[in-house]
């Protein structure tokens, strides 16, 4: 049901019945290693290219999610997902293996929540019984795509972020046990004219603020309704900027209830500069760490705001600014039977 201009309230409360998360070695050394289903020891995953490794990661994550829910490939009705590589080939190729009907998405690093919002919408209106949705990124494949060769010695500024090697997928169904998707707010493009591809956090912060404020207003709830508001990959700078923007706008968001996936995933001391980024960042942290905490009952109501910078290497070389987007999805525990 549409509430306000861009918020959907899901009255049937679609359930995330299982998730699958796969990450690379660098993430395995981070803070959240225990929350991931599979940690690879090396970034090649025994494949002969990073793009293939990227694809394999997604296949494995889907496999894990299906295993946990005791489902077979042919029971999955749709797959909604995407990644950051040209023409989202890793996702398309992985779905070739999966064999289910497929809708490819591109929302840069916001793909995870774009997929979850759409999946919940489909499930809510009886569009499907089982939908897999997810997003992934592979550090080396994405660096190759967007920046310089991986081994090229270029000094990155302190605002740069580290692309996560990771995948997160969720299985959404109208019934079952697990955290429920209760509402979603679709973001609009916010472009503040920033052009520095090494400062995504600063560029994306206004988009996150715009979506969060719209969500709270249209759902008519106070920020304290949520135990946690978690952004996708704003990093240190984006988080700080967005907090100051909230303060300026008078939105009472508490610093301790406002976290960022890009700051959660890595340990202090890992050389990631301003934090993590990438489509797999919010996907793996939310579907791994955050949902685990919800299942344990540490968190009951979470608003996930995945942020994306919709630039391409071409657009920034042509001196275009960076348009950004953020999609918010609220995930809540469904009362007593959950605990």
């Amino acid at each position: 049901m549409l509430t306000g201009h861009r918020t959907w309230i899901f009255d049937k409360k679609p359930v995330i019945i299982s998730t699958g998360t796969v990450v690379g070695p660098f993430e395995g050394k981070g803070n959240l290693a225990r929350d991931f289903d599979l940690i690879h020891g090396e970034i090649w995953l025994n494949q002969d290219s990073f793009e293939k490794a990227h694809q394999v990661m997604l296949e494995e994550a889907c496999q894990k999610a299906m295993e946990k829910a005791n489902l077979q490939k042919d029971q999955i009705q749709f797959f909604l997902g995407g990644d950051l590589i040209n023409q989202i080939t890793p996702t398309s190729f992985a779905t070739r293996t999966l064999g289910s009907p497929y809708l490819g998405l591109f929302g840069a690093c916001s793909t995870s929540m774009e997929g979850l919002a759409l999946s919940a919408f489909l499930v809510n209106y009886n569009g499907a019984k089982y939908i897999l949705t997810g997003a992934s990124s592979h550090n080396a494949a994405v660096e190759k795509q967007f920046r310089y060769p991986t081994e090229y010695g270029g000094q990155k500024p302190p605002t740069a972020q580290w692309t996560v090697t990771g995948t997160g997928v969720a299985l959404v169904s109208p019934m079952g046990k697990g955290p429920q998707v209760t509402s979603a707010t679709i973001g609009r493009i916010v472009d503040m004219g920033l052009t520095d591809p090494f400062n995504m956090g600063g560029a994306m912060a206004p988009a996150a603020v715009d979506t969060i404020e719209a969500h709270l207003k249209e759902r008519n709830v106070d920020p304290s309704y949520y135990d946690l508001i978690v952004t996708g990959d704003l990093g240190h700078i984006g988080r700080e900027v967005s907090l100051d923007l909230f303060k300026k706008h008078g939105t009472p968001i508490k610093e301790e209830n406002y976290q960022d996936c890009g700051l959660l995933i890595y340990r202090e001391g890992q050389p990631v500069l301003a934090g993590a980024s990438g489509a797999g960042c919010s996907a793996s942290v939310v579907y791994g760490h955050i949902l685990n905490r919800m299942k344990k009952g540490e968190l009951n109501r979470v608003l996930v705001v995945a942020t994306g910078a919709l630039l391409s290497p071409l657009s920034f070389q042509q001196k275009e600014s960076i348009p950004c987007i953020a999609h918010a999805v609220s995930i809540e525990n469904g009362g007593e039977e959950q605990v």
């Binding site: 002969d48 290219s49 990073f50 793009e51 190759k144 310089y148 060769p149 991986t150 081994e151 090229y152 010695g153 270029g154 000094q155 990155k156 500024p157 302190p158 605002t159 472009d191 503040m192 004219g193 920033l194 400062n199 600063g202 912060a205 206004p206 240190h236 700078i237 700080e240 900027v241 100051d244 923007l245 050389p271 301003a274």
Partner: protein
């Protein structure tokens, strides 16, 4: 140029950019310069040692020792790039590791490694100079311009 760019921005964008600018972590320019000075200096010191080595132990002169020295440095740079060390040195050293010939070698070699998966002709061949290509182009062109100026000065200026 930056003024021209600023003019196109809306007041809201300008306000946010100023707001964002205050919170952005700045590059530690002085620290980076010192690190670059040290890193570049060390690379050059190694180069000097290699050159002296060639002059002392082989039949090279001051003028001719340059070529084998550069070749050796590029070879070392290739090894460091292949083993995944050069990019870490560069994150520390910045321009200090980018400006010497080893940085040029790294730019070529890292691109060659990266695009190996697309095959030898279209991958390695087509992409090897994607970073270093502009260095070659503008390097040769600036040399041409300077040489022309020098020739003119010598021929007509009587220097």
């Amino acid at each position: 140029m930056s003024n021209k760019k600023k003019k196109k921005l809306t007041p809201v964008q300008q306000e946010y950019q100023a707001f964002q600018d205050q919170r952005e972590t700045k590059r530690p320019v002085f620290k980076n310069c010192m690190k670059a000075f040290l890193t570049g200096g060390i690379i050059c010191l190694i180069g000097q040692a290699i050159q002296t080595f060639y002059i002392y132990f082989f039949d090279f002169t001051d003028q001719t020792a340059g070529n084998p020295t550069v070749a050796t440095l590029i070879f070392i740079s290739m090894l460091f790039t292949g083993f995944g060390v050069y990019d870490r040195i560069a994150q520390f050293g910045g321009a200090g590791s980018a400006v010497p010939v080893t940085g040029f070698g790294n730019a070529v070699i890292s691109a060659a490694i990266e695009h190996r998966t697309e095959g030898f002709v279209l991958g390695v061949g087509g992409n090897m100079f994607k970073l270093a290509g502009s260095v070659i182009l503008f390097g040769v062109f600036s040399a041409f311009v300077i040489a022309t100026i020098k020739t003119i000065l010598i021929t007509w200026g009587g220097l």
